[in-house]
Each structure stands twice: as C-alpha cells, then as structure tokens.
C-alpha cells in the first residue's frame, strides 16, 4: 500500500525533517525517509507545518445511540479528525446509557466502521447514570471495547459511598473514575457561574464551591482507597488549588480543562445567548487565568473538549430552557495554540503532552499518544500554526452548530490527520475510509 512522504515538517515544532508513513507506521525519519520513499508514495510539502502525535480526547459526546439528530459516531469522529484527533473517548450519557458491555461494544464498533478516529467508549459508573448502583464495570472492561474510563458525566457520582466503591472496584482492571464534580444540592436549577454577573442578570448561580467541595472529597477518597481519580472539566481557581495540593500529597489524581474554560468568561452570559450555556459554567477572568496557570505548571494534566453537540431548537430559545453544552472538537487545538502557545507558556511538545501523550496514558490507550519515531503507529496530525481562521459552524464537520467560537478568529489549521497511516484529513479535506467507498486498495 502506498504511503506518504512528509517533507520538511517540524515534529513538535522542533527541527524540520522528513517522515515516511507506510503500512500504518512511521517507517523512516530524516534522510532515510526520502531515500526509502518510492514513486507511488504521496509527497506532502509540509514546510511550515508542525507534526503532532494524533490528538486524544478524553471527553467527547458522540450522542449515538439516541440523539443521532445532533451527532452520530460518524459525524462526531469526522469532526474529531478535522480537529486533529485520532482517538476520542465517547461519554456514556447516550440513550440507552452506555452502562453495559453491549452498548459500549456497539459504540466501539460504530467507531471502527466509520474509520475517522478510534472510539474508546466510556462506561457509566452507575446503572442508567442514576447514581444508585454500580454498573457492570468489569464486563465493560473485559468487553471488546476494553473500557478503562468510567464516568456518569453530566451527573456527579454524589453518594460518597458509591464513589468510594467505584474508586476501589476499578483498581481490579486499572480503570479510572472520571468525575463530573457538581454538588447537586448546591446547584439546583443552576444556570451560570454564581457571582457578579449572575447577580446582575438574574440567573440562578452555580457556585464554585459546588465543584470544589466534590473535588476535595474525591481526592481524599482516592487517597484513602488508592484508586485512580480523574477530574473532568475543572473550571475554578479553587479547584486548581485543590488538585495542586492533592498532587503534592502524592494522590493519584489527574485533571482536565476544556478549551472554553481556558478562553471564555461568564461575561458572555450577558447576551442571554444559550450558545454560552455550559456545565460547569463559564467562570470569571480570574478563574480562566488560574486554569491557564494550572495547565502551564502541570497541575492540570490534559485539555479535553467536552464536545457537546445540541440541536438548533435546544439553543434557539430562552436561556433557562436551553441545553447545556458546546461543540469543541474542531476548535480545541486552535484555542490551545492561542492561549498557551502564543502566550508563551507552552511549546508544541507541551501541546502534544496535554492533548495526546497524557490523555492516552490516563485512558490506557496504548497505540495513541506515542512519540513521533520510527516503528511507532502513524497516528499523526499536521498543523499550520501560521493560518488564521474565522470559525463558522456551518462549515464544520460536526452535525451541530453550537460553537461558542462562531465568528471568532482563531489561529492554526489542521491540514492533515493520519490514522494508522491513512489520511483521514488530506489538506483539510475529509477522506472517507476505503472500506466505505468500496475502493479497496
């Protein structure tokens, strides 16, 4: 099968070199690449492009099964590829809920059939996300989907005994409990961050303490039972402090931040436009600064999108009636470039760490998040950092339109994405897998 000779690309933004991708792996680097390339290989002039290991998202809502009107595994993973991702973790809050081996295997197979990115299903912690009884976590772990990340995302595993049991039980198969930290009683009817803006515009507040109290409890539980805890979409300055403290104590906790919590603030709610309604809510400029600082110093381990597609009618309404969530797969890398790379706190190697290596390690995804080296799987993305785009949801690959970055100019553009050596995105164009076109090569 012909491969790709990628010429003059900068792996992790370092010195330019050539890469030869063939048979799903990186077969040669540097001078060897050109000399081993044959005339059948496609040559990509990658001068000016940065090569990153294929990105890995720990937090994606693909909506299938159940809400195929907003996203399918196919459209969602195509959006992932367009955003530079080669693996995504599909959240469990589908209908039916991904709380059995059957559902997680279905989602995993849909991902494999679509061919845009590897889908790693996340298993629900509790049956039906109801927070009452543990789902069959072991069955999901040993299924074909090999689930390692468990989460009731969208709902908090609030019962401290249940959370303790989940952290303990998942140790048997090296699982991780990914917690949506939201104290439910403190957030009844909550609509936005509780603070100066909510006071003024009269929307019920979602206080920072409702997130921080759960994180504080959970890190202590993780310490007590020795389980692996991952904190999802951390959004407040206080949460960063708690994670920093927990890590200093040696607690096995990791944390993620979303692109929107790295860039947007609660001031946007003044428009009452529900495109800015998200859970946890957009916080203050001080929180954004603290989350960025936490990402810069390694307190926050990864950036995850929390890509949450919604139907038009669920956003084209009054704020309180609207759904929580925003899309993010196709803007994630751009936001990280803007707020971390261009602000000087990240190199491209750091970007690879928080968007590929570490999320792969947390999710125990063995063939992603690997170094760019000879013999490694050819899961790669090539980015043009000099490009600038004005975000237009109508031309995105996701089936939904609820991007909070619509109309905003963001830096960088994903030009190529390779999944096991196959170009899923070729010079910004999505390319259907040969198995789906009938054109088997």
């Amino acid at each position: 099968m012909p491969g790709y000779l990628v010429r003059s690309v900068a792996p992790l933004g370092a010195e330019r070199t050539d890469l030869l991708l063939r048979d799903g792996v990186v077969v040669a680097l540097g001078r060897d690449a050109a000399s081993q390339a044959g005339s059948e290989d496609t040559v990509i002039d990658a001068d000016g492009l940065v090569a990153l290991p294929g990105l890995v998202d720990l937090h994606t809502h693909l909506r299938e099964p159940g809400r195929e009107d907003t996203e399918t595994v196919d459209s969602g993973t195509r959006a992932a590829a367009a955003g530079g991702f080669t693996a995504v973790h599909a959240m469990a809050n589908t209908a039916p809920v991904a709380d059995t081996a059957g559902v997680v295997e279905q989602v995993w197979r849909l991902g494999r059939d679509a061919g845009w990115a590897d889908v790693r299903p996340v298993g629900a912690v509790t049956i039906g996300l109801a927070g009452e009884r543990l789902a069959e976590l072991g069955a999901m772990a040993t299924s074909a989907a090999a689930v390692r990340v468990f989460s009731d995302d969208g709902r908090c595993v609030w019962d401290p005994v249940l959370m303790r049991r989940a952290l303990e039980y998942t140790k048997a198969f090296d699982g991780v409990v990914a917690q949506h930290a939201q104290e439910p009683r403190l957030t009844v009817d909550a609509q936005m961050h509780e603070g100066v803006v909510s006071a003024e515009i009269g929307l019920t507040g979602w206080p920072a303490v409702a997130e921080e109290a759960i994180i504080a409890r959970d890190v202590l539980l993780a310490e007590h039972v020795g389980g692996r805890l991952h904190v999802q979409h951390l959004s407040t300055a206080g949460s960063v402090e708690i994670i920093r403290w927990a890590k200093a104590r040696g607690i096995a906790v990791t944390a993620e931040a979303t692109p929107h919590h790295l860039l947007l603030t609660d001031e946007l709610a003044r428009s009452y436009d529900p495109v800015y309604k998200v859970n946890p809510p957009l916080r203050t400029a001080e929180d954004v600064a603290a989350v960025r600082a936490g990402l810069a110093d390694g307190t926050i381990d990864v950036v995850a999108t929390d890509h949450a597609p919604h139907a038009v009618q669920d956003k084209d309404c009054e704020w309180a009636a609207a759904a929580f969530g925003m899309t993010g797969l196709e803007t994630c890398l751009a936001v990280v470039q803007q707020v971390m790379v261009e602000e000087g706190s990240f190199t491209w190697a750091d970007v690879a760490r928080v968007l590929s290596h570490t999320p792969a390690r947390i999710g125990r995804v063995t063939d992603h998040g690997r170094p760019i080296a000879v013999g490694e799987p050819a899961n790669l993305t090539l980015v043009d950092p000099a490009a600038r785009r004005t975000i237009d949801p109508r031309v995105q690959q996701t089936a939904s339109r609820n991007s909070p970055f619509a109309g905003r100019e963001l830096p960088g553009e994903v030009r190529w994405t390779f999944l096991r050596g196959r170009a899923t995105i070729a010079d910004t164009v999505a390319v259907l897998a040969p198995s789906r076109t009938g054109a088997h090569a």
Partner: protein, 316 residues
C-alpha cells in the same frame, strides 16, 4: 429607544424624559375623556407567560388610553411546558400584526432574546423577567417618589431610599437599584444574608442586614419587597414570625420614620409578613397611588417606543 428591557438601558436624561412624559400622560388622565389618539391603528400584544393580573391590566389600560388595539396572550407556565417555543409564539404574534410586544416571562433574559435573537423585529417591553428586571415597575416607583420628594420634576439627587426584603429573587429590587442610582438617589438594600445575591457588592448601593440601623439614616422612602412564603420552606429564613420581627415594617418602625418619609410596596402585599396593616394603611403608604401611576408610566413607555419620532428619542 427601540426596546425597554432593563433600567440599565436608561441614562439619566432618558429616564427623566420618560418620567416627564409620564407626568404629561398623568395630566391627561384627570380629563373626563381619558383617551388619546396617539397610537391609533397600532396593535400591542401582551404576552404573559406568568400570571400577573395587575401588570397585564395596567399595560392594557395604558395601551387602550393611547387608542392602540390590545391582544392579550396568556400562556400560563413556561413555553417549554406548553410545547411551543418562545420563538414560535413570538413569530405567530408578529404574523398576526403586532407592532409591539409586552412580555412577562419566568426566565430571566427572555425579553432580551425576543428583542435580539432575530426572531421578530418589533419593539419589546419587558413586563418582568424571572429574577432579572421589571423596568416599568421601577419607573412607576421613581415617578411616585419624584412626585412626593421632588415636585414631579427632574431627578432624585440626594434622596435616600431603603429597599427591604427578598432581594435575591426580586426583579423589582434590581430594576430599582439601577434606576434610582441613575437618578442620583442613594439606595440601601436591607435583607437577611440568605436573600442577598452573591455579587451584590458590585451594585450601585449600600447593603446592610440591620433594618433598624438603616431606618435611622435620613430615610426619604422605604420600599418593602414581597416575600414569597415558599422561601421559608426552602430555608432562606426560619419562620414567618422571625422574618416579620427582623425585616417587617411594623408600627414601631413606622413611627421612627421622619414625617415626609414614604412607604412603597409593589404589591401584592403579605400583610403581617413584610408589612403590617398599620404601615400598609398609613397616610405614608403610596401603594394605591403606585397602581395609578403605573398606567401613566406605561403610557409614556409605549408612546416613546411607538411614537418615537414624535417623542424625539434616540436609541437608548
């Protein structure tokens, strides 16, 4: 002025101009024939997603006295529980030929969405949205205060207004703090800490938990907010009696006010809870007058929005 969504839309001059127009409207209301031809041929829709007989009737009277046609559309409960979206309801009313929409909605920001989401292009008047704003209530309160404290002219510079009660859930409090501050008055909010929003410290007013202390501070008017009894069951305060003792305007507190000081209440009152019968029925009470002034103020708002060229207003 295209819409009236919030008292923060009004600067001092715009607010004073509206109050002056309301004063002119009030003069016409003492005539035998109260009806003016100003809005003849125009249709105003009262779109009420919450029960509010008083406010709806007040807007209806205001519109009719300006010769507008009025359509009342009551959709009890939220648009969501009704099954029809706010957008579809609004577009239906536009298609029927509404020239202005007066909207009351339980969700904060719903009037803002109607005005700015691109669904309709008619002027929108906020008749109360969730915990956000109720600008015509604040205007009628300011109108009432101005009549008593400033001879019905100019602003309220230097006057001290104490607002007491459930500030957290109150659109009346938010609208009044903004408008009174814009008009130069000094505002003090009094409430138990549980009924003050986090973030209130950024508002243009003073805040205290001590009603008796606030009442000794050269008070020109006390505005009592309605306290809903279900707040007690939600744990915002322990009992009605404790609330009444600490934050109710009773006879003793009434007696400590200076002679000219007024007592306002937006209604409906919970007699015995936030206000005693003695205070409600005292000569200082402007409760009934506020209702009458409401019609004049709403006439002024509708006139300014719909006969804008005549009123000579810009986009506020």
């Amino acid at each position: 002025m295209r819409h009236l969504l919030s008292t923060t839309d009004l600067d001092r001059d715009a607010a004073v101009a509206l109050l002056d127009t309301a004063e002119a409207m009030a003069q016409t209301q003492s005539r035998t024939i109260k009806k003016l031809p100003a809005l003849r041929g125009l249709t105003i829709v009262n779109l009420f997603f919450e029960d509010s007989t008083r406010t709806r009737i007040s807007f209806e009277a205001a519109a009719k006295r300006l010769s507008a046609d009025v359509i009342n559309f009551s959709a009890k409960g939220s648009s969501v529980s009704k099954g029809e979206s706010l957008k579809d309801t609004a577009q239906t009313l536009r298609a029927i030929g509404a020239d202005a929409v007066v909207v009351r909605h339980p969700s904060s920001g719903a009037p803002h969405r109607l005005a700015h989401a691109g669904w309709i292009d008619t002027p929108v008047v906020n008749a109360g949205d969730g915990m956000h704003q109720h600008p015509t209530q604040a205007l009628l309160d300011a109108f009432t205060l101005r009549r008593h404290l400033a001879d019905g002219r100019g602003d309220l510079a230097g006057r001290h207004v104490v607002v007491v009660g459930d500030v957290l859930h109150s659109r009346v409090a938010r609208s009044n703090v903004d408008l009174l501050a814009t008009l130069g008055a000094r505002v003090t909010l009094v409430a138990p800490p549980t009924l003050l929003p986090i973030g209130v410290e950024s508002w243009r007013c003073a805040v205290t938990y001590d009603l008796d202390a606030a009442l000794t501070d050269d008070v020109d008017a006390v505005m009592m907010l309605r306290v809903q009894r279900e707040r007690m069951t939600s744990g915002f305060f322990p009992s009605e009696r404790e609330y009444a003792r600490r934050y109710g305007l009773d006879g003793t507190r009434l007696g400590r006010l200076s002679d000219h000081a007024l007592v306002l209440h937006p209604g409906p009152m919970n007699r015995g809870l936030e206000i005693s019968a003695e205070a409600a029925d005292s000569p200082r009470s402007t409760v009934v007058e506020q209702v009458a002034n409401g019609v004049s103020v709403r006439m002024a708002v509708l006139y300014t929005l719909l006969a804008g060229d005549l009123a000579g207003e810009g986009d506020a």
